[in-house]
């Protein structure tokens, strides 16, 4: 069957790689899926052939050509440590891994499309910045954190690669942070805390991407990528205070110079470590990106906007409330509504 798509997913053991493979397996237009990672994914994936390989190793350049894939999706860029991928290794995995993967794509003559699941961290979190960054505004501010510099370097490699191979369509997806009640991401865990530390006197505007939209956008981009960078984000934005109120959480404002320390203490307990330094700036200044290119050129309309994503998060995680605030609110509501 020469017509079906042959797709390689790097970083398939991660949450997003596994989900993508699951969605692609249901698509009749896909002939075969190859999963590249150092360990097997937890879920059983049908129509997926696992290739155990570390994307940092040059062996990749020998293995990939033999698969005859036409699309390579890189889901292996990590924002934070995962099991088997400690904080110390992130820089190597993100940079060397991407370089090796691109080198392997160069060796594989059948490859037509390369999609990278990147991050909108490249824009930074800037009080003076545009409230909605569009794709061409990357690097308009200095890259401040380690992760930002990694993403910046990685995008530079990828742009260079795309320039040298004009026949390939190369797509860089810049994801805003995703949320979902069962999602193992630091921001989801942060929002799920019963008492949420915030920075006193700051109320950042955020765009939190619903996990269903995050998955579907990646599937759409895999099947029909566009060239260049695309922001993946919900429409509109929401302030952290409002998001926490919708989710029924209690805020614990901490003076902002101490917030980083408090978050890293908490971070160790949540399994996100100190590394998530981007979070301190994100939760102080916020970040919005423009999703026009996603909707109009990639043709993907997010089902949830910024507010709806938080509402859905609150609804599905509703059983886990511990705070006294909703009780106060319901008492207040009863107080004024009963006697009408």
């Amino acid at each position: 069957m020469p017509d079906g798509r042959r797709i390689a997913i790097a970083g398939i053991a991660g949450h997003w790689g596994t989900e993508l493979a699951r969605r692609l397996a249901r698509d009749p237009a896909v002939e075969q899926i190859f999963g590249l990672d150092t360990r097997a994914p937890e879920a059983d994936l049908e129509r997926t052939e696992m290739i155990e390989v570390d994307i940092r190793s040059p062996v990749l350049s020998r293995l990939l050509p033999s698969t005859g894939v036409d699309t390579v999706v890189h889901c292996g860029i990590l924002w934070y440590p995962e099991p088997g991928k400690p904080a110390r290794a992130l820089h190597d995995i993100n940079l060397i891994g991407t370089l090796q993967l691109l080198a392997a794509c160069e060796k594989t003559e059948t490859v037509e499309r390369v999609v990278v699941r990147g991050s909108s961290a490249i824009y930074g979190c800037e009080p003076a910045g545009p409230s909605f960054f569009s794709e061409e505004m990357a690097r308009s501010f200095p890259l401040r954190t380690r992760f930002q510099r990694d993403i910046g370097e990685l995008e530079a490699y990828f742009e260079n690669f795309a320039r040298r191979h004009p026949a390939l369509s190369c797509c860089m997806l810049r994801y805003q942070p995703e949320i979902g009640p069962d999602l193992p991401t630091p921001l989801s865990r942060y929002l799920a805390l019963p008492v949420v530390p915030t920075q006193l006197g700051f109320d950042p505007h955020l765009q939190m991407l619903h996990e269903a939209d995050a998955n579907e956008a990646l599937r759409v981009a895999t099947m029909r990528p566009v060239r260049g960078a695309v922001n993946v984000a919900p429409s509109g934005s929401i302030s952290l205070t409002r998001a926490l109120r919708i989710a029924g959480r209690t805020e614990l404002p901490i003076p902002h110079p101490m917030f980083g320390l408090a978050l890293s203490r908490l971070g160790r307990r949540l399994g996100i470590g100190d590394l998530y330094g981007d979070a301190v700036r994100l939760l102080r200044y916020g970040r919005g990106v423009d999703n026009r290119r996603l909707r109009e050129e990639l043709g993907f309309e997010p089902r949830y906007d910024s507010v709806a994503a938080v509402r859905d998060f609150a609804k599905r995680g509703a059983g886990r409330r511990l705070t006294p605030v909703p009780d106060l609110v319901s008492a207040l509501t009863r107080l004024v509504e009963v006697p009408r």
């Binding site: 009080p127 003076a128 910045g129 545009p130 409230s131 909605f132 569009s134 505004m137 920075q199 006193l200 006197g201 700051f202 109320d203 505007h205 509109g236 934005s237 929401i238 302030s239 205070t241 409002r242 998001a243 926490l244 109120r245 919708i246 989710a247 029924g248 902002h256 200044y285 919005g288 938080v310 605030v325 909703p326 106060l328 609110v329 008492a331 207040l332 509501t333 009863r334 107080l335 004024v336 509504e337 009963v338 006697p339 009408r340």
Partner: protein, 322 residues
């Protein structure tokens, strides 16, 4: 009917309702109910307006309120409005002329002179003039020096009342949403000038505001504000302190920092705000934004209009105090 008696009557009515409410709670508790249930039963005695504001408060605590893309929160702005109304009517006795020159529908760029070193009171008073004097009032957005958005408390407050970080992308986006965008092309050079230079318009940047207006096809409404220069008469700039904290300037006024926080109270000068005839830019194509000559010409025209109106209004106002 004279004012004070009506006021007195409504006050005594509120007090009576409050007493009845407390009385109801006491009766309920004596009848064996817990305090919360008793309060619920007694709440029927409360006036409707109070019940409504309690309902709104409960809804807000659950996150049920609207914010736009820039964080403007109309309910919050309305709650803060009485304070600004007091400043408008009593403190600065603002007289606004020509508010109807602001288009009632669609996008428009409002361009004003900038003064008042510590807080953009001029933006607040222009907003007040539109809300009070315009036949179809609506909330404008205003550009705020980006530095303010890195400061705790000030940043969320500015957002909630309609402030937008000063970035050309933000201005274009507000205008594309058919809103009013208020800009101060003098920027920090305007607010940070010394008292001796009052009402002398500074350079209008590089004319970026004209480029945005041309590109988004928005009419430009020049606005002259008189009175804002006297609220914090700046006699010196503590440049060393400013550099240390990253501020564009740190004003020294006769009262600040001498009197500490008291020095932050603006002086009660008399204000006049004049909205000029809109400058129609529809004769120019959007590509004119690339043409430096057109941009500088329009920028200079706006600047001269405002400078001329400043002189006229200074004469019309008379002495600043009294």
């Amino acid at each position: 009917m004279s004012g004070p008696t009506t006021e007195g009557r409504s006050r005594s009515a509120t007090a009576a309702a409050g007493i009845e409410f407390l009385h109801g709670i006491r009766q309920g508790v004596e009848a064996g109910l817990d305090p919360l249930a008793a309060a619920e039963g007694a709440a029927s005695a409360l006036p409707r307006s109070l019940r409504q504001s309690l309902t709104r408060m409960a809804a807000r605590l659950q996150g049920e309120y609207h914010e736009d893309d820039w964080g403007f929160d109309e309910e919050f702005a309305e709650a803060a409005y009485p304070f600004f109304e007091f400043l408008y009517d009593r403190w600065w006795r603002v007289r606004a002329v020509g508010a109807a020159n602001v288009p009632a529908h669609g996008r428009a760029m409002l361009v004003a002179n900038h003064a008042g070193a510590l807080f953009p009171f001029d933006a607040a008073m222009i907003t007040g003039a539109i809300m009070k004097e315009h036949p179809l009032p609506r909330w404008p957005r205003f550009m705020v020096l980006d530095w303010a958005f890195s400061l705790p408390f000030l940043a969320p407050f500015m957002r909630k009342v309609g402030g937008v970080p000063a970035s050309p992308y933000n201005a274009s986006r507000v205008l594309e949403g058919d809103d009013l965008m208020m800009v101060f092309p003098e920027g920090a050079k305007g607010t940070g000038k010394l008292f001796g230079e009052r009402y002398q318009l500074q350079r209008f940047g590089r004319g970026g505001f004209v480029e945005i207006a041309l590109r988004t096809r928005s009419p430009i409404v020049p606005i002259a504000v008189v009175g804002s220069e006297e609220i914090y008469p700046m006699i010196a700039d503590a440049a060393v302190v400013a550099r240390a904290i990253g501020a564009p300037f740190v004003p020294i006024t006769p009262t600040f920092p001498l009197l500490g926080p008291l020095g932050l109270i603006p002086l009660p000068s008399r204000w006049r705000i004049e909205f000029c005839e809109p400058i129609d830019i529809s004769a120019y194509p959007p590509e004119a934004a690339e043409d430096r000559r057109v941009v500088f010409e329009l920028s200079e025209r706006v600047r001269e209009t405002i400078q001329g109106k400043l002189h006229e209004n200074l004469v019309a106002r008379g002495p600043a105090f009294g």
